[in-house]
Amino acid sequence: MSHARRVLLSEWTKIRTVRATVWTLASALVVTVALGMLISALLNNGFDDLSREERLTFDPTFISFAGTSLGQLAMIAFGILVVSNEYGTGMIRASLAAVPVRGELLAAKLAVATALALAVGMVTSFAAFLLGQLMLGDHRTDLGQPGVLRAVLGTGLYMGLIALFAMGLTWVLRSALLSFGVQIPFFFMISNILANVPATEKVGDYLPDQAGSRVMAVIDDGGWPYGPWVGLLIMLAWVAAAVAAGWFVLRRRDA
């Protein structure tokens, strides 16, 4: 077995043998789908109460992804745990003694965890869309409509990327407490506030989660300064920066 494959296999064993990481992924799926279904059902029932403008820009695809606002937090938690599991316990020293080339350890861990997050993200995205449409009744759309498949695939991609962003940042912060304390409040509240308060809206639109979630929308309500793919690219730039910072810190610092 090649060296790279050995390290990948080892990282896969690390992820699957700790309960918390498995549970966070499962809850990302359940929370996103369940909340999406609930909100879809509520909007279906209350569709007639919506304003004319709201009805014109009604985006059934985007509505079925409403659960990602909470579900992404579980994805972020997964990303944080995969990395911070090494630090909270001193395991990082055993890991680096086994794989002393630090870039190798980082790359293997990110590759395995991101692949897993992407796979779960895709399943989550399709499940949220399909079950959400079921709840939307007459207001539903389908994968054949223009831009819908792009939005569904994009949402799966978003879920994987947000986990990868969290992993990169956690290599920098190194502690679970600090990582949760910074990232969860940021993505749960602060980012949304920045993106919706007029004073900071222009900057807030370029935050990783705001830019990335552009891809979830099929109908452009005019609230975005860029298109879905540009949004995803902006998010990718954030992710690349976080991973590069993590790699830089891991290389430089004592373990």
Binding site: V7, L9, T89, G90, S95, L96, A97, A98, A255
Partner: protein, 321 residues
């Protein structure tokens, strides 16, 4: 073989390890001694490439650690008992380490049995005692059947039976021709295990010598004498030119100590002056005491040195155990 050449680690103004140069050879147990905070763990982490040296280098089998392919099959290390995720079973902990170095899965079960954890391999280490955690750490060190073993304070937290077991294990590994480098802050423990000693204090090399040589050079010997007529004994000794100092320590009350072996001279003097003696014997100071004296001198020297050139060589070292 492990080679350290001018190995230095500074944290800001504090020097943890200062120009350490020595060779740790195969086929014997090399004890790495020093008070807590002397730089033992830092040195070991630098050997394993975990901490970057400020200057100098550490080589294992002639190469920097990071250049080793499948390092666990060359060097096995016990760094701290809890380098383990508490929620991952002992078996899986060892399995993920084994997989990364191409070590077969069956070896995991073997080392678990070897350290006496065969029964609890499927359990999560969060319920392990300190001793069990230490055994798991030793299992991970042995995983790759390495030629070099590095143990940082391996007997910490072990019960007497466990300590005995570690001692025998270290001796056996060295007898098999492996390089065994083991740190401790307990001289008494090392005295029973090590063939060779490397002693550091405040990060500096104080001694690099065989155990026998260390005892020869550093274990002070003295003659203890006591008499019910202490004043006359003291006068007699003084007039004969034998320098005596009041003994200290438990059970010393009223006794006098003389440097070296003076039993013959004192015995003959007492007979000549018709003095009653209650005790006359030659003692060799314990290795523990010799070691403490050696490291304490170093600490004091460092403290003066630091005060003079205002480099601030760091706070005084704590002593435990």
């Amino acid at each position: 073989m492990i080679e350290l050449a001018g190995l230095t680690k500074r944290y800001g103004l504090k020097t943890a390890v200062r120009e350490l140069t020595c060779v740790i050879r195969p086929g014997q147990v090399t004890g790495f001694l020093g008070p807590n905070g002397a730089g033992k763990s830092t040195t070991m982490r630098m050997i394993l490439g975990l901490d970057h040296p400020t200057a100098g280098r550490a080589l294992v089998e002639g190469r920097p650690y990071a250049r080793l392919t499948d390092p666990l099959t060359v060097v096995g290390a016990l760094l701290e008992a809890r380098a383990v995720h508490p929620g991952r079973t002992a078996f899986h902990h060892l399995l993920c380490l084994a997989q990364s170095n191409g070590i077969p899965r069956r070896r995991v079960g073997q080392v678990l049995d070897l350290v006496g954890l065969g029964e609890v391999g499927a359990k999560r280490p969060k319920g392990f005692s300190l001793g069990m955690g230490q055994r798991l750490g030793i299992a991970s060190a042995l995983l790759g059947d390495p030629r070099i073993l590095i143990f940082d304070e391996p007997v910490n937290g072990l019960d007497p039976e466990g300590i005995h077991w570690v001692r025998n294990l270290l001796r056996r590994l060295a007898a098999e021709g492996r390089t065994v480098f083991v740190s401790s802050h307990l001289m008494s423990e090392m005295a029973l295990t090590a063939d060779h000693l490397i002693v550091i204090g405040q990060g500096q090399l104080l001694a690099d010598t065989s155990m026998a040589g260390f005892i020869e050079e550093n274990a002070r010997s003295y003659t203890r004498v006591s008499s019910p007529d202490r004043e006359r004994l003291l006068d007699a000794l003084n007039s004969a030119g034998l320098a005596a100092t009041p003994a200290s320590g438990p059970g010393a009350d009223g006794a006098l100590d003389l440097e070296g072996d003076q039993t013959v001279a004192v015995g003959e003097l007492a007979a000549e002056r018709r003095l009653v003696l209650h005790e006359l014997c030659h003692h060799r100071a314990s290795l523990e005491e010799a070691f403490m004296r050696l490291t304490r001198q170093a600490v004091e020297y460092q403290a003066r040195d630091g005060a003079e050139d205002r480099r601030g060589a760091g706070s005084r070292q704590g002593w435990e155990g």
